[in-house]
């Protein structure tokens, strides 16, 4: 028998898509039954109370969670998000219901031992509810009480040898696509760069010292499966410099219909026979390809590496061999000054471990941002306020036409004094000799 009636939530159990309500009820029932005979360290019925407070929100159409409080583990300024219910008498099981972020392995591969160990800790010391995963990529343990935070952290670090993720004004938990582990498009080892930089910047991740949050994301190719360019302050997106590799026989196989285009992604509808001219050549954004009926040719100098042709013919076309990545800086969601996409800063870096060249750029950006950034200002906003030129200056990257979609359309140029012969200190007396007032 459920603790609270949930007539509205019950209506979210029907329909084909997995129901989170059914899942929460299943957890509530499991805790009530307690087959392992655990001495639950936080209220046994907390999933019931979570369903109860959620039902109240469904009735009132307002949240019942208060502003976070300052809770955490000793020595860290992030990784725990304090959360309190604003109706604690009605729902005592979730009166305190803090979140812990646990660092996920990059690419989110797991074995069942890791997951079961984590579940066991969370069974005893938490709500038994999680987010797999939070938006930034962490494993999110959803709901425990203050007195359990150090206990959980102790068990995570001592028994599972895993750490907390980031929250607050610090480096947030970095995230990578699955990269070379299972994708032929990956231009560098995204998981390795993500892992290495996460390890190297543990201090920045755990101890807030920045004006606001800072996110790294690593995409293996311009398809952008982890949305690095849209979601991360520092986006590393795989690319290459040389020719796309062409297997002409396989191109013919696509043209002849022997291989389904786009890896079979359009199989749900009859789109007619594959038309290489209409579907590939004419859609190339830089018009760098030609098909003469027997041979596909690509003018590499004109290619902008959008991935369309490679996505369309994965068996015939492959990324080039001179591989690396582009770095784009400053993406963010709308708060405060409007959404921003990452802006291209480094057209190409080689991406070889231990990634010192990448770290050099990161650290120069951080130094500048920690000096100049205002409270709660993302790096993208600092860039907007103080100019892209300033970012080039502090990172010592020379300006190139790659950096812009188009040159400026106003002549309000800031010249540096040393760029102007004679500088800015001028002789008014001499001027007045030439020009009467």
């Amino acid at each position: 028998m459920a603790k609270h009636a949930t007539p509205q939530l019950d209506q979210l159990e029907s329909g084909p898509w997995p129901s989170f309500v059914s899942d929460m009820k299943q957890e509530a029932a499991m805790r009530a039954e307690n087959p392992k005979g655990l001495d639950y360290q936080i209220p046994q019925d907390c999933p019931d109370d979570l369903l109860g407070v959620l039902e109240l929100s469904y009735a009132e159409k307002e949240t019942h969670w208060k502003h976070g409080g300052i809770v955490g583990v000793f020595g860290y300024g992030g990784g725990v998000i304090g959360r309190y219910c604003d109706q604690p008498e009605q729902f005592p099981g979730v009166a305190h219901f803090h979140t812990m972020r646990v660092a996920q392995p990059s690419g989110k591969y797991y074995n069942t031992k890791f997951l079961r160990d984590l579940c066991d800790i969370w069974d005893l010391r938490g709500s038994g509810l999680t987010n797999m995963h939070g938006s930034t990529g962490d494993i999110v343990l959803l709901g425990t009480q203050t007195h359990q935070l150090e206990e959980i952290f102790f068990e995570l670090t001592h028994n599972m040898h895993v750490d907390l993720g980031g929250s607050g004004s610090n480096l947030r938990t970095p995230e990578a696509c699955l990269g070379q582990s299972r994708c032929e498009y990956a231009c560098y080892n995204t998981q390795d760069m993500c892992y290495q930089l996460t390890q190297d910047y543990q201090d920045e991740l755990h101890r807030p010292a920045f004006p606001y949050k800072f996110k790294f994301k690593f995409d293996g190719c311009p398809n952008g499966c982890v949305c690095a360019m849209a979601r991360s302050d520092f986006a590393v997106v795989g690319t290459w410099k040389d020719d796309i590799k062409i297997d002409q026989d396989k191109v013919k196989a696509y043209v002849g219909g022997a291989i389904k285009p786009n890896a079979g992604a359009h199989a749900g509808r009859d789109w007619g026979r594959f038309d290489i001219q209409a579907e590939m050549i004419d859609l190339c954004p830089s018009r760098c390809m030609k098909w003469d009926g027997a041979k596909l040719s690509i003018k590499t100098a004109d290619c902008v590496r959008c991935m369309h042709c490679i996505n369309t013919m994965p068996q015939a076309l492959r990324i080039g061999d001179e591989r690396g990545a582009s770095i784009l800086v400053g993406a963010k969601a709308p708060v405060v000054d409007g959404a921003q996409m990452g802006s291209l800063l480094m057209p190409f870096i080689s991406c070889e471990a231990p990634y010192d060249d990448v770290k050099e750029v990161i650290e120069k950006i951080w130094d500048w941002w920690m000096e100049e950034g205002k409270n709660r200002e993302r790096i993208g906003e600092t860039m907007k306020r103080l100019s892209f030129q300033k970012v080039l200056e502090v990172t010592k990257i020379p300006a190139t036409a790659c950096h812009v979609k188009e040159p400026r359309s106003n002549p309000y140029i800031f010249f540096k004094e040393e760029e102007v012969p004679g500088g800015w200190q001028r002789d008014l007396v001499a001027y007045r000799k030439r020009h009467q007032r």
């Binding site: 069942t112 959803l142 068990e155 670090t157 849209a230 954004p285 996409m341 205002k374």
Partner: protein
């Protein structure tokens, strides 16, 4: 309850303390076929919706079965996923960035058994536990935020409306009839802790009433200058007010300047903004993150407000479904929703979808607004 110590000694927090060890190394969890072929994959095929086959240079194959997952997930559910992975996949599994779960096997017959097993399991309430799908030119799983389940600033729930939208487009999770991938995402407020601003269809919770001011608590709970600085439209200012016969430091809000972003509330709990009547969801469309064919772009607001209609959000789900159907019927192969809207023109988008164009949809936030107005006589009547 008897307190069970982990071994942590609160008297000596630094004793045996382990810190800054980070995540586990990614390759500890690679299934053998993945470990062996790192960086050596040749090509892939989508064999059917939800099933991928990757082929390596040496001829090795890995079959991946992808299932939709709910982001909010119990340990009972995770343990069931583990049971399946132990039975079929040597104890390995992975999650995608869109809350899907992937199981990998090296044998086609095993893949089919696994796929059927996953499709067969249901919750007591009747929904699928592990629906196979979410690949290619279809509708993948939604990424979303926390909502009323556990967040303090939401303007809507997240898990609930996501469940309703995914129910409505479920056939297209299990099919690949779209012109191109359709990525739907939901953020329960404009903080957008999910990538809603670059989605084919982005659903975002919005408030419509300026914050209330709790004069009793403002000076005690908040750093007032931080709340003032947080306002992007300079609607918030410090003030002194009379409260219970006393002059107290507090906050004033110029209501006509407020666009209800809630940023001041983030800084100051004495400025509550949520409101059952005022809150709801805006629909944004046409964004993308991929560089394929066209450059990445932001989603644009095409429906300024839909009320919160728990528990099933019928207006929201019907509108999303309708936009998907009009797009599917009109766009060209490979054309993402935003590319289609730009090719036909946004005036045609509103004509074809029948969505009403109102003044709410014209940008008026800062300089970029001007660049979205039409500086041309080229338009469609």
């Amino acid at each position: 309850m008897v307190f069970i110590s982990s071994g942590y000694n609160p008297e000596k927090p630094m004793e045996n303390r382990i810190t800054d060890i980070g995540p586990h190394k990614y390759d500890e969890y690679f299934p053998p076929v993945i470990k062996k072929n790192l960086g050596k994959w040749l090509y892939h095929e989508i064999l059917e919706p939800g099933v991928l086959m990757h082929v390596a240079e040496n001829g090795d194959k890995v079959y991946t079965v992808r299932v939709g997952g709910t982001r909010t997930m119990s340990i009972t559910h995770i343990r069931e996923l583990c049971d399946i992975a132990d039975q079929y996949c040597g104890g390995y599994l992975r999650w995608t960035t869109r809350n899907n779960v992937e199981f990998m096997v090296t044998d086609e017959a095993a893949m089919k058994k696994l796929r059927d097993e996953l499709n067969s399991r249901k919750f007591e309430g009747g929904s699928y536990k592990f629906p196979v799908g979410g690949t290619g030119a279809g509708i993948s799983n939604m990424v979303h935020t926390q909502g009323w389940v556990h967040c303090h600033t939401p303007a809507t729930d997240a898990s609930g409306p996501v469940k309703c939208v995914m129910d409505a487009v479920f056939d297209d999770f299990k099919n690949m009839r779209m012109p191109a991938p359709v990525r739907i995402a939901l953020a329960c407020c404009i903080n957008m802790c999910g990538a809603v601003h670059c989605s084919d269809i982005g659903l975002v919770g919005i408030h419509r009433k300026p914050p209330m001011i709790d004069h009793q608590w403002a000076d005690r709970l908040c750093e007032i200058p931080l709340a003032v600085a947080a306002c992007p439209t300079a609607a918030v200012r410090p003030t002194k007010v009379e409260y219970n016969g006393e002059k107290v430091n507090s906050i004033a809000v110029k209501q006509e300047r407020c666009m209800y972003c809630g940023n001041c509330y983030t800084m100051c709990p004495a400025l509550p903004i949520s409101d059952g009547e005022g809150d709801g969801i805006a629909i944004m469309v046409g964004g993308k993150v991929s560089n394929r064919i066209s450059m990445p772009k932001f989603s644009k607001v095409v429906v300024g407000y839909i009320p919160n209609e728990p528990p099933r959000w019928p207006t929201l789900t019907n509108t999303v479904k309708h936009i998907v159907e009009v797009y599917a019927a009109n766009a060209r192969k490979y054309e993402r929703l935003g590319d289609w809207a730009e090719r036909i023109g946004w005036e045609s988008f509103f004509k074809l979808t029948g969505l009403e164009f109102t003044h709410h949809l014209i940008d008026d936030f800062r300089d970029p607004a001007y660049y979205t107005w039409r500086q041309s006589t080229q338009f469609k009547f």
